[in-house]
């Protein structure tokens, strides 16, 4: 097994595409060497060694020592220094480097090789004893913390470890000697402190700091491998879904110093601006400093060049003017790296006595806006193909362009009131109200309000509509609040279990926070965080962004999957068309019944004594429904509109207080007792599995008739005005073809009647929502008559997992925390379970009807991973809320490109 890969001078044993073996850092160091870029020599110990290490009781392969010594020899020869030498000693850094970047999660030891033998030589060579002893005490601090404390098996609480104790000694020394900052300490001070450090270490850890250079090196290497299984690294991997078995590589590299004098410096840079995407070399540097000084934030870093100076930084000298020849070399390297990697690079460099050394290059992280601009620019620069440009922007990254957001700088400084599930993305700022009616009233007076509820119901919709954002204590990612808010692109946080709301007092508590009605809060709906007070809100204007428009055009060019929207109103329909929707995949009809005028008729219907009364009440709703459908079908002219027949259980329409019962009784001229009895008889233990969906239409066929009539009368009237309405009638919650056939017959018979009555012929489809496991299992039987399937993956996920989306909040945190679930299955489709049912249904459905139109209209239609799955599974379209349409379009293009 080759365990050690050398890099340095003009030659490297590794290269960029060996990340799995050498880690990202190691592979890119090798690649830079191959490109002729100056990199301090060194070698990478492979991730295979890490695997071996854990599989063999934390030991190394037998021949690794030889390979390491060989690598060391080459390093020494390139750098012209000898490790442990008493004349010209080489110092080393020992750093982790995994396949994926895990910033700050693993250990690093610098200055390895400083011993009582090498210190005098280094002093002689640098003529800078203070620098050498400063480096020595840094080594002691790091090494005792990273290597020795762990080796001693001590696991101190945060802030109580050996490092903390050594820092205490340093502080005490400064106080006793009346020294203000580290800069004030002399060489002698550092010598004394080093001795104090070593004594303390021996006392606390029971062993002495090693004075042998190879002992230091092996200790460092082992500590880095061990840090792969440190607590921080493990929890980071959980969050980022990095497999435990990948392991880390270890990079051993010659030290170079940016703090050896006036002509030394250190810096970080991006080949383009990572915040805006602008094609300018962008970075920061510090004179006479080490990398950790830049990170520590004590000194203010300088801008790299003149052209990127800002109002705040214009008085600081740039590297461009201070060391022009070095800047020019760096700028050439920038160009070389971007040309080579064909992507924006995030680089680190050190200047040691006027000599430039590159320490790292990697693909740079960027904001969504920057990602779009860079992708479009690089295509127009001819650097990359359109296809690559599309794949440079993650679909999720569009989100920040589509919603207003909190000012990040302010956000990080603001106190967190509570955390919950990020149900509706973007930012929201407003004053707290606790009822929908209050929200409406305050909003009328020009106030920005945030509606806070235990959970929301259809009766809260008017308050939700006027609110800037919605916050609920209960519910999951597909609870009522979440669904409605996302539909409107509104900021929403749900499932804040820590929130205690007192609706009588109109206040809420979370820990020590007490928020009263009228208090300001700010919400980051993309992260699920609620802040105290007012954070500045930045608006979203994707239309004005040229790069965005170009990118979306390319996406449309490359995708084959259609994208529709879920919309219930003409306004939403227009919004969605502006976002590029190609039709409506789910038009829910139940919201239409909650309007005050209409709900009375609905309640009459529910309380009817017999079919005649019931039919009369239902038919009173016909004009309203027809008008609704006219509006939507007209807004979506020439585009298909899938209308779902009434779905929710009837008790949702008669959730009444005692007062409301009395009122209704008077209005309908029946006894309150009778209303109570009916409410009681409609109560269900598990309404999600109760009398809803097509089960309503089967029990009360007049509802189906009325809705079908409203749809077809609207269609005929529009056709009469030469507007091409394309309705697709969707029968919900079908579990067997018998249910489907029963309802389809009613719909088709109404269509025939309307055509006969109006003398107008029109086209329409009848199909069904596939949202029960049994529908998937018997999809062949259903497809005998159904002309389309639309997967309702919310309900399908509920029944496949046996999870109620309204109640999942009770255990989801435990599940994600224990890694029992890697994602919330209501956000990203569970491909292993739910996905298998979807595939099965597609296969069975198309086995009897080759041209069966298949889409998805669950919340997953806007999730990029799920969109990919839909493409692979052969669906015709996805449908999602208007604000996710662009994301779905881009994801569809990705899906097509990834499959090729």
């Amino acid at each position: 097994m080759k365990s050690v890969y050398f890099f340095g001078g003009q030659v490297a044993e590794g290269k960029a595409d060996m990340k799995n073996l050498l880690g990202g850092k190691g592979a890119n160091l090798a690649e830079m060497v191959n490109l002729g870029i100056p990199v301090p020599a060194g070698f990478t110990i492979t991730t295979d060694v890490c695997t071996y290490f854990y599989e063999n009781d934390r030991t190394f392969p037998s021949d690794m020592e030889n390979q390491l010594k060989e690598g060391m020899g080459k390093t020494e020869s390139v750098m012209g220094k000898i490790f442990g030498d008493t004349e010209n000693p080489l110092l080393l850094s020992v750093r982790s480097g995994a396949r994926m970047s895990m910033p700050g999660m693993m250990e690093t030891v610098l200055n390895v090789g400083l011993t009582s033998k090498t210190i005098p030589a280094l002093i002689q060579k640098t003529n800078n004893p203070r620098f050498v002893y400063d480096a020595y005490r840094r080594l002691i601090m790091m090494y005792s913390d990273v290597v020795m404390e762990k080796a001693a098996g001590i696991e101190p609480q945060d802030g109580l470890g050996i490092r903390h104790q050594l820092e205490g000694i340093l502080e005490q020394y400064k106080v006793e000697n009346n020294l203000k900052t580290d800069v004030d300490l002399s060489s002698d001070d550092w010598i004394k402190i080093s001795e104090l450090f070593k004594d303390k270490i021996e006392k606390v850890l029971g062993s002495s700091f090693p004075d042998d250079h190879y002992e230091q090196l092996w200790g460092g290497v082992k500590a880095v491998f061990q840090s792969w299984n440190g607590k921080r690294a493990i929890s980071y991997r959980k969050i980022e879904h990095i497999p435990d078995e990948w392991g880390t590589a270890v990079n051993v590299q010659a030290m170079v110093f940016g703090n050896t004098g006036e002509e030394s410096a250190t810096g970080v840079a991006f080949t383009r601006n990572p915040a805006t995407g602008e094609n300018r070399f962008y970075g920061e540097w510090l004179q006479n400093a080490q990398g950790e000084d830049v990170v520590a934030g004590i000194r203010t870093p300088h801008p790299l060049n003149e052209s990127t100076k800002t109002e705040e930084s214009k008085h600081l000298q740039s590297l461009e003017t201070f060391l022009p020849h070095v800047y020019q070399e760096l700028d050439e390297i920038r160009t070389k790296l971007e040309k080579h990697y064909k992507d924006m690079q995030d680089i680190e460099f050190t200047i040691e006595n006027g000599h430039l050394w590159m320490l790292q290059t990697r693909t740079g992280k960027r904001t969504g806006g920057a990602a779009i601009k860079m992708a479009v620019d690089m295509v127009s620069e001819g650097m990359i193909e359109k296809e690559t440009g599309i794949l440079r922007v993650k679909p999720e990254q569009l989100d920040e362009l589509l919603h207003p957001s909190l000012d990040l700088d302010e956000e990080v400084k603001t106190e967190v009131v509570v955390r919950g599930l990020p149900a509706g993305p973007g930012g929201g700022v407003g004053r707290v109200v606790f009822t929908a009616d209050d929200a409406e009233e305050w909003a009328k007076n020009g106030e920005n309000v945030i509606l806070v509820r235990e959970e929301t119901s259809p009766e809260d919709v008017h308050g939700m509509h006027v609110a800037e954002a919605i916050l609920t204590a209960k519910g999951g990612m597909t609870s009522h609040a979440a669904l409605v808010a996302r539909g409107w692109g509104k900021c929403c946080i749900v499932g804040c279990a820590a929130l205690n709301i007192d609706f009588i007092k109109k206040e809420m508590r979370s820990g020590d926070f007490l928020i009263k009605e009228g208090d300001w809060i700010s919400m980051n709906g993309s992260k699920g965080i609620v802040y105290q007070g007012q954070v500045t809100l930045k608006s979203a204007e994707p239309e004005s962004n040229d790069s965005y428009r170009i990118l979306m055009d390319w996406a449309d060019e490359f995708r084959t999957l259609k994208v529709r929207t879920n919309a219930d109103s003409p306004e939403d329909s227009k919004q969605a068309i502006a976002f590029g929707a190609e039709g409506i995949g789910l038009c829910r009809t139940e919201h239409m019944f909650f309007d005050p005028q209409r709900i009375v008729e609905m309640r009459k219907m529910i309380l009817a004594e017999n079919e005649t009364e019931r039919r009369e009440a239902v038919m009173n709703l016909l004009p309203y429904q027809r008008e609704d459908f006219m509006g939507i079908l007209e807004a979506m002219a020439d585009k298909p509109v899938t209308i779902r027949l009434l779905d929710p259980p009837l008790h949702e329409f008669i959730t009444l207080s005692e007062e409301q019962i009395d009122e209704l009784a008077k209005e309908l001229n029946i006894t309150a007792e009778k209303i109570r009895q009916r409410i009681n008889s409609l109560h269900e233990f598990n309404p999600m599995l109760g009398h809803r969906g097509c089960r309503l239409g089967i029990a009360y066929p007049e509802i189906t008739e009325m809705q079908a009539r409203a749809i077809f009368e609207a269609t005929a009237a529009l056709k009469n005005s030469e507007i091409n309405a394309m309705p697709e009638v969707m029968i919900p919650l079908v579990g067997s073809y018998m249910e489907y056939n029963n309802q389809e017959k009613i719909v088709r018979s109404v269509a025939d009647s309307v055509m006969e009555e109006t003398g107008i012929k029109f086209d329409y489809l009848v199909g069904t929502m596939i949202e029960l496991p049994r529908a998937c299992l018997t999809a062949d039987e259903i497809a005998e008559k159904a002309e389309f399937f639309s997967f309702g993956t919310n309900d399908l996920t509920q029944t496949t997992y046996g999870f109620s989306r309204d109640d999942i909040g009770g255990f989801l945190p435990d599940y994600l925390g224990n890694n029992i679930l890697s994602h919330d299955p209501f956000q990203s489709l569970d491909q292993r379970g739910v996905g298998e049912l979807v595939s099965l249904a597609v296969e069975k459905g198309r086995s009897v009807r080759k041209n069966l139109k298949i889409g998805i209209c669950g919340e997953h239609g806007g999730d990029p991973d799920s969109v990919m799955f839909c493409h692979q599974t052969g669906l015709d379209y996805v449908s999602c809320s208007p604000f996710r349409v662009p994301i779905a379009r881009l994801a569809a293009a990705w899906a097509h490109l990834m499959q090729e």
Copy 2:
């Protein structure tokens, strides 16, 4: 197409195995002819003609008339009479005859061929004008009703049709002429009445009664075919699941008359006693009578022979003594038929002037007890093989032997209060109480009580236990009441939607009935009927039934599928072993927590502030649980016991009234507010899909630990006393292998600890309940570690269909009524949907673990069709409530025999 099959004399064109074509009656008439038994000649028009009739606008195949005339010729020649002849006329009966018997659901016309031309000839031949005119008026009544009214397209309401009007004329005639009964009417009277009838018919139906014999015949044949799609027939087919496309045959047969004089008679008989199974010729007869007279119940039928006379019938003359030679011929035919058909026959005969004619033979219906006795007797008589004997008893038929039942004679005469779902079979009689506490108190005073509730919850269990029967207004076949009642073999009716209960007044209403606390009611739990007052209850004693014991031994001999029981207590375990259970397939542990002493600890656990408190409360339950498991494992020594870890959502344990909250607050020394908050936070919208099953054990691992410890400590203690406990720990509601692995790890680690602590090694299994679609879809992943699967088909049906078993009552009647469901899927496994998931899981599970032990522990385990399915799917065992164990054993034998 051959449309007409002749039978008569010594030759028939059909035979017994042609039932699909000739119907049951036609095939058996042919078979009797082939056996040389005297049968009036005739012919059968096939079911294919029925199909043709409906597919061709209610017309007949073109060559049918020729075939019919040919059949008529043969009939005339065998009977020595001519149809429509003016000297020796042949009269015919026209009867339906479907593949399966549909008693009284279709039409019959007798005496066809009586016209103004044939009447004089018949009078001359019989010398009995009264008989002839009586026959004539009967023909007119039947024909006008069956043929003419329908042909006129008139659909009168019940009791207002032409038949009713003719009966009115007859009654009026009798009153006017001072005649008491039909017997008092003379020949002249009947002539006058016939004329009155014909006038009325012409007036009401607008056409005259046909005087042409062939017109009569074709009208009758057509009417019989049309009656296949009459209302009564259609609804009967729905109930009995008879396909619409089978159609009926029509039997046209020479009339013979049992009412032509002293030596004429008619009767029905069974070759063995259908109520007891006793091997004696058993039947009834009436002298000088027609079949309809026996049915009408005006005259009391006589016993067939001396040996079957009872106290009530001993004064009536038997056929054996009255016409000994005819009786002997009949008895020989009895023997011949039983020998030929190798099963008990239900026969009809007519004696015309001393000549015996057989009109029908078919396999006789019988009670469960009779079925068992006949099967065992026939095997010991050498008539049939053991295998056939087993298949002669339908598994469901055992039910009546296992439960007490209402006296049938009394039952049919008692007023029905309400109907509901037959949730617990058998009979129950008692006084109504409305709370579990009342039930307990009344029962203590020696009263038999019936507990009536809206629905039951675990807190009602003490009252349910002492009640004779349980009645609930809500809930489905697998509601709490139903499950618990069936577990105890207790009579139970649920889902009586018409029942309005007033718990304040302690009374209930159903329609006009008002039942108050203390009133007596009687319940038939097998049919779901509640009666007013006290019906006599007959006890069940299967053990004392030798035939039953023999049959069950045979069943065990032939079955390969094991049968376990669902039991939660030592008592149930013993009961189940007595019924032949081979282990426990489902031991629920939640009932154990509802005991008053224990529920306090449970509530402490639920209200605990932190893990330490929670663990302490949970561990206080350990001694109780250990004791529970000791008892059950000991009762089931040497047999496997599958124990399911805690399953229900926690809020079930803290359903508290305000008073109870205050009490609990005092007891636990916390505020009532805190309890309310916790109750509120545990509230779920869909508890079935909520925080339950293994989701509890994952959130609160201490519960799993405690339960595992209780199981293993009990196992070790028993082993110490040389009792072989065989626990199988079952993790509920697993949807992914990650959940399973999490819980399994805890269970195995506790087992290790207990073995170490006690120094006793014991065997055990860990496995899971497969009750979610996702578990089926990922069964291969789960089987990597799980040692057994047990299908929880109740929950699997709920999630596959999206039906809540507690709420299905709201729409199930509509579904069954509209034929959308053919069965309640909670009673009989839905093989097409749920069954596909089960098969998939078996296949996937065994693909990674060949010897995976697989069972089923849902309610379906006791349903014969579902047991068959389990056998075919390769399951190792089924598990059901103790009282269904014998049924499952027999069904398992059936499954094995049917597959061969």
